[in-house]
């Protein structure tokens, strides 16, 4: 269908733009058997080259696609506004946009670069925090409804653990579930002047004491977000330090509630992670099945559908339609959550295909029949591809409503109706499209031996019931330290997953064990770093440990929500050593952060007192004060600090130096 100009594939010449003469069949290029009326329309299409990916099979698959994806569009957005990059553009009022320059050092209102940057930063953190709080809020409501309706409780250990932590004395498991949900929601809905009650129960004692001294214990989480919007509105707060402290408070709300509690509530409803080997990448696609792809972060919204798809009734309907059955195709973080808890859903869950910037390529394979979205990362770029490939889009939470998706708002009460509707629509889509579209799945993408199911509990069990063996390995020097590689992928730090993969390889080479949670883990698993064979890429000492235990040097904790699980691992290590978190030989990096949510996670990391690396500055460098507080002064307050570095080796050097210094301070 595609003729390259003069028989030459101009892409080989590495030009940023190349001319391609295309034969358009009335714009319906992907429909087989389309009747051509009035002959060919010839058009000259100027196509943008795609960006680099760490995952080379994905990179060449996307480069050959005739669809427009993020990987194509990044080249069309390569000129960035310098004021935006430095965070010194303000459009909070009609006098704007104001930009700070040496000629105009203040906005019309008198706001300095420090005020403008701090306001922009706090707004971003509060939006990110709001996202995670939405996720935990929905999970808590679903848990309460599960309890009231005596629904399926798969994670009884988590239920008992949380009930005893919260001091809930009920015997009945459903009553426990209801009470746990109530306690979580009770905190989220408190006014800002009332402290949330669970914070102390969920926080390591030395940390809690530090937060109390600093005056950053949060009031009601949603009120904290609400008030940060007030603070950052037109001509209100102009104190950069007050706003940065507010960002830390939002970090605590995000981490303890949005991350940690979401995991535990979902573990109760959907089962605890169990360590196992799993298949990842596009190789999990099987065109014999009706394939339903998921995007989002809210596993509990799929609890009923996962069960409905395994009923005899559903199997029978799929067979009638000519398919072998249904498969859930994991994509983005909710796919990571399904993979993490894959032990409990082996029949229907096909595997995790990839992270945020893999999702457009996934639907472009043509093998997906229906997409269910409920949160980010659901790119608007999915819309045009799904239309061309006749893929039905259903959105079950309007916060992620795509323009071409049908909104079927999830509620526990209507779960059966919704699952039936999804099944009907998936069958209809499958029957309608499969003979009309081209299926194009890249070969050998991904692998069959990614170690998954790792959580704070399953890892402890694996180590024999205590984290002591891990501490011994660290103390003896077999493992120099631990790095949490978290966050997203973006397309600006060298390309898709490029910085993440290079930094991870650099760290394991130096005997630093890497734990990953977030889209970063999607990239790391597809390039094989989470398979036991990756031990060969580690330094001699770490390699020996990995080979002995049969584990990879990069451990897959799954979705970004699992940053909450990493915090639990850190807390356990600290409590065994009887030290506070900042003393551990532990560093965090969100090398390729993308979203406001990542900044809220980052604020949690800084509140925990951990060094946090970012490759791209979070739009703060225009303010000397904000930059100094976050990169230097914060160490005196929480113990954490921001490290900004866009060079892989230099970053690895700095993170290793921190780990070595902390080892010396601990006397190991």
């Amino acid at each position: 269908m595609t003729l390259n100009w003069m028989g030459l594939n101009m892409r080989k010449f590495k030009t940023s733009l190349y001319l391609e003469i295309k034969v358009y069949l009335k714009g319906k290029r992907y429909l087989k058997g389309y009747k051509i009326k009035g002959g060919f329309n010839m058009a000259v299409n100027v196509k943008t080259a795609t960006c680099e990916s760490a995952d080379k099979i994905l990179e060449s698959f996307i480069a050959d696609l005739d669809f427009d994806t993020c990987h194509h569009r990044i080249g069309t957005q390569d000129i960035k506004c310098g004021f935006g990059l430095q965070g010194v553009c303000c459009k909070l009022c009609a006098n704007g946009p104001c930009r700070v320059t040496p000629d105009s050092p203040k906005g019309v209102c008198g706001a300095t670069a420090d005020t403008i940057v701090a306001r922009n930063f706090l707004r971003a953190v509060s939006a990110g925090s709001a996202c995670y709080l939405h996720i935990v809020e929905k999970a808590a409501w679903n848990l309460m409804e599960t309890g009231k309706n005596k629904g399926n409780i798969k994670g009884k250990d988590s239920l008992d653990e949380l009930a005893s932590l919260f001091g809930i004395a009920e015997d009945d498991e459903y009553e426990k579930a209801i009470k746990i949900g109530e306690r979580v929601l009770g905190d989220l809905y408190k006014p800002r002047f009332e402290r949330m009650e669970l914070v102390e129960k969920l926080t390591y004692k030395p940390r809690y004491d530090r937060w109390q001294e600093l005056g950053i214990l949060p009031g009601g989480a949603k009120s904290e977000v609400f008030d940060s919007l007030i603070k950052t509105s037109t001509n209100l707060n102009s104190d950069p330090v007050d706003m940065l402290l507010h960002a830390l408070r939002l970090g605590i709300c995000t981490g303890l509630y949005g991350l940690f509690l979401t995991n535990r509530l979902n573990d109760i409803m959907l089962g605890e992670p169990k360590i196992r080997l799993a298949s990842v990448g596009f190789k999990v696609l099987d065109t014999d099945y009706i394939n339903i792809m998921t995007t989002g972060h809210q596993h509990s919204l799929f609890a009923h559908l996962e069960e409905a798809l395994t009923t005899d009734h559903a199997r029978e309907k799929a067979r009638e339609a000519g398919a072998k059955g249904f498969k859930l195709i994991g994509s983005t973080c909710v796919g990571q959550d399904m993979q993490l808890r894959g032990e409990h859903n082996q029949e229907v869950f096909a595997g995790h295909t990839g992270n945020n910037f893999t999702s457009e390529a996934l639907i472009a394979t043509g093998a997906i029949d229906l997409v269910i979205s409920e949160f980010n990362c659901t790119f608007p770029g999915l819309e045009s591809i799904s239309e061309e490939l006749m893929i039905k889009m259903i959105c079950i939470d309007d916060v992620a409503k795509k323009a071409n998706a049908e909104l079927v708002e999830y509620s526990y009460e209507d779960r059966e109706k919704i699952s039936s509707y999804v099944i009907e629509e998936a069958i209809k889509s499958y029957q309608n499209r499969r003979d009309k579209v081209v299926i194009n799945i890249p070969e050998n993408h991904g692998n069959d031996n990614t170690l998954t199911g790792i959580s704070e509990d399953s890892l402890r069990d694996f180590l024999g019931g205590s984290y002591k063996p891990l501490i011994d390995l660290i103390a003896k020097g077999y493992i120099k330290g631990v790095a949490g590689i978290v966050g997203c992928s973006n397309l600006v730090s060298g390309g898709h997953d490029v910085f993440t993969v290079k930094l991870t390889k650099e760290l394991i080479k130096r005997d630093i064990l890497v734990l990953s949670a977030g889209c970063s883990s999607g990239g790391l698993e597809n390039v094989g770093l989470m398979s036991p064979e990756a031990a060969d890429l580690a330094g001699g000492l770490l390699r020996e440990v990995c080979k002995d235990l049969g584990i990879p040097p990069v451990l897959n904790f799954g979705p970004c929500l699992s940053i909450g699980r990493l915090e639990q691992v850190a807390t356990e290590l600290a409590s065994i050593l009887n030290v506070d978190l900042p003393q551990l030989p532990l560093v965090l990096s969100a090398p390729q952060w993308l979203e406001e949510q990542a900044l809220a996670d980052g604020a949690f990391g800084l509140a925990l007192g951990l060094p946090l690396h970012l490759a791209k500055p979070p739009y703060i460098t225009g303010s000397k004060l904000v930059t100094k507080v976050l990169t230097e002064d914060l160490e005196e307050l929480t113990g954490g600090r921001l490290i900004l570095d866009d060079d892989v080796v230099s970053t690895a050097n700095r993170l290793e130096a921190i780990i070595l210094a902390k080892r010396v301070a601990l006397g190991i």
Binding site: C81, G82, T101, P102, A113, P617, K624
Partner: protein, 149 residues
């Protein structure tokens, strides 16, 4: 000879060219993140003005064929390089008489704001293939062309 061309109707007054110029001439480094936007020593050689119809107008040195700044320069600080076609400025020869500022038909030249001594003169980013102002322009209002001598 390479020249910067201006399509003023594409200009959105984002000041990208102004930032680009300051980034390239910043002594502390060539990255946008090295640029201190509160430091008066960072000064741009180009500027964006608003015309009588309230439309933005990027003001950028044309390196004129018959440059008034060179003609009026008494000390020999402004010279036309016949080989490259660029109008070059030697601050060591400059007497700060500002005749060039007065004579520039485009109003692009100005004295530095701190000492009021040195002329802020475009050097086409010396050896850079594409000048920073052109590189930073998101609307392509600034673009490069090769012109005959």
């Amino acid at each position: 000879m390479r020249r910067i061309m201006i399509d003023r109707y594409k200009c959105e007054a984002c000041l990208g060219c102004v930032l680009g110029c300051m980034v390239e001439h910043n002594k502390k480094g060539k990255s946008i993140y090295d640029l201190d936007l509160e430091d008066m020593a960072n000064e741009s050689r180009n500027h964006v003005e608003v015309d009588y119809e309230n439309r933005p107008a990027p003001i950028i040195c044309r390196h004129c064929e018959d440059p008034e700044c060179v003609t009026t320069c008494m000390s020999g600080a402004m010279t036309k390089n016949e080989e490259t076609g660029l109008v070059e400025y030697d601050k060591d020869k400059c007497a700060s008489c500002f005749m060039c500022v007065m004579s520039c038909p485009y109003g692009v030249l100005k004295a530095d704001r701190i000492n009021n001594e040195v002329i802020m003169k475009c050097d086409m980013c010396s050896n850079r293939e594409v000048p920073r102002c052109v590189e930073f322009c998101p609307t392509r209002a600034l673009y490069m062309v090769e012109v005959a001598r």
